[in-house]
């Protein structure tokens, strides 16, 4: 049957609302924002403890350490990305909205990314300096983390959408998304390592940008489809 004509929300406004709703809910529980940062901080302090304080060795491993930790932090976050929406019935309502579910879900993903990945990228120079990463790598580190955490969050969203209805599926999510995250990790560390060695990291950054663009096009569709399946099981 046809839809009634009425002044309705534009697609962008609907996206914005979803973004705000989730951003507000995230900010309201500050722990959710603080935890990835704290985790990042703890792990970065732990590595010198575990590896011995040799500054040269630390500096050479800094890109890898920072990237692995960023990946793990994003994993922690995506574990419950759509969980509360599923439990409190918000997801059903999103599915009934006249806007595509994928766009609304993308609004939430964007809020999540801003609150974790983006935040992490912005503060990463502090951690990098703690590990003694040479300063010529800092800019590339931030840039690669910005692009990379976007990919990680989008992949995490797909995994989260697939597992949200599963009652006993906590760690299943990591099984689904870690293999898909491997290229991001490799491109990211490669870019920073190249920059630190004074070489041109633009190949890796381009690859990462392409990956992010592809994900941005593909992941929302997958998330939408996965959420509908989850609602229906």
């Amino acid at each position: 049957m046809p839809s009634v004509d009425r002044p309705s929300l534009s697609l962008l406004a609907a996206f914005g609302r979803q973004f705000r709703r989730h951003g507000q809910a995230l900010m309201a529980s500050l722990t959710d924002v603080a935890n990835p940062l704290l985790f990042f901080f703890m792990v970065v302090t732990l590595f010198p403890l575990g590896l011995g304080p040799d500054p040269l060795q630390l500096a050479s491993m800094a890109p890898g350490i920072l990237w692995v930790v960023a990946l793990l932090a994003s994993l922690m976050v995506s574990a419950r990305m759509f969980a509360s929406d599923f439990e409190d019935g918000s997801l059903e309502q999103m599915a009934l909205a006249s806007h595509p579910l994928s766009v609304l879900a993308l609004g939430e993903v964007a809020a999540h990314w801003l609150a974790t990945g983006c935040l992490l990228a912005v503060v990463s120079p502090v951690f990098a300096m703690m590990l003694g990463l040479p300063s010529q790598g800092l800019g590339v580190l931030v840039l690669s983390l910005l692009l990379g955490t976007l990919c990680l969050t989008l992949i995490g969203a797909v995994g989260s959408a697939l597992t949200v209805s599963i009652r006993r599926g906590g760690l299943l999510l990591s099984l689904l998304i870690i293999p898909l995250n491997v290229p991001v990790l490799i491109f990211g560390t490669a870019a920073v390592t190249e920059a630190v060695m004074g070489r041109d990291p633009s190949t890796w950054l381009t690859l990462m940008g392409a990956l992010a663009a592809g994900m941005l096009a593909l992941a929302p569709l997958a998330v939408g489809a996965a959420l509908r399946i989850s609602l229906d099981s």
Binding site: M1, V4, L9, R17, Q18, L96, A97, L104
Partner: protein, 198 residues
């Protein structure tokens, strides 16, 4: 005007067939109460009518969209205030201004609680936040799953008035409730007991 028509609908959940051969057509101006014992499949039917369930649902269902569906779970975030919750409702069907939303909250007796986190409201007050949406939507078909739950006497009367107003303005309502019928002259009953697969 026909707002919903379902023909020969059968519903299966978890490998078990619940309902078979449900026929229903709902025209504007009608109030339907879905009846049946606990676990007979009322909520499952409402979800199927809303279009949320596809796997395990057979038969043809046509509906007038957009519709409003209110489930057992109220789609309300405990960390947000009533105002924020309605402003950014996940169904994205509320285009009203904050002032209008505040008026709707006033109407459900939540004046003064607009900015308190919903999680710290009482059970009935949380339900009222979800119901305030009825005043703000322009959907013509409402599917309400146990809307009277947790409401006090005054709240139930308000909801009754609200539903009456909606159908007299050309809308239609399908709701489930275990309480005695309130809309005697308007109301039609769909007793799922007769469609249940034993």
């Amino acid at each position: 005007m026909l707002l919903l028509s379902a023909a020969d609908v059968s519903i299966e959940r978890g490998e078990r067939r619940l309902l078979q051969g449900v026929d229903l057509s709902v025209a504007s101006g009608q109030v339907w109460q879905v009846l049946g014992a606990n676990g007979v499949g009322k909520s499952s039917l409402l979800r199927a009518l809303a279009g949320l369930a596809r796997f395990g649902v057979e038969g043809s269902i046509a509906r007038f969209e957009p519709l409003l569906y209110l489930a057992h779970a109220p789609a309300i975030k405990g960390a947000l205030s009533p105002l924020e919750n309605l402003r950014c409702h996940p169904a994205c069907d509320i285009t009203s201004s904050p002032a209008q939303i505040a008026l709707a909250l006033e109407a459900v007796q939540l004046g003064g609680f607009e900015h308190q986190p919903v999680g710290s409201l009482s059970a009935g007050q949380q339900r009222r936040v979800a119901l305030a949406r009825l005043l703000l939507t322009d959907a013509r078909l409402w599917l309400l799953d146990e809307p009277f739950t947790a409401l006090d006497g005054a709240g139930c009367d308000w909801l009754e008035e609200c539903i009456r107003g909606h159908v007299s303005a050309g809308g239609a309502v399908i709701f489930t409730s275990h309480q005695p019928s309130r809309f005697s002259e308007l109301q039609q009953d769909l007793d799922l007991g007769s469609y249940a697969v034993s």
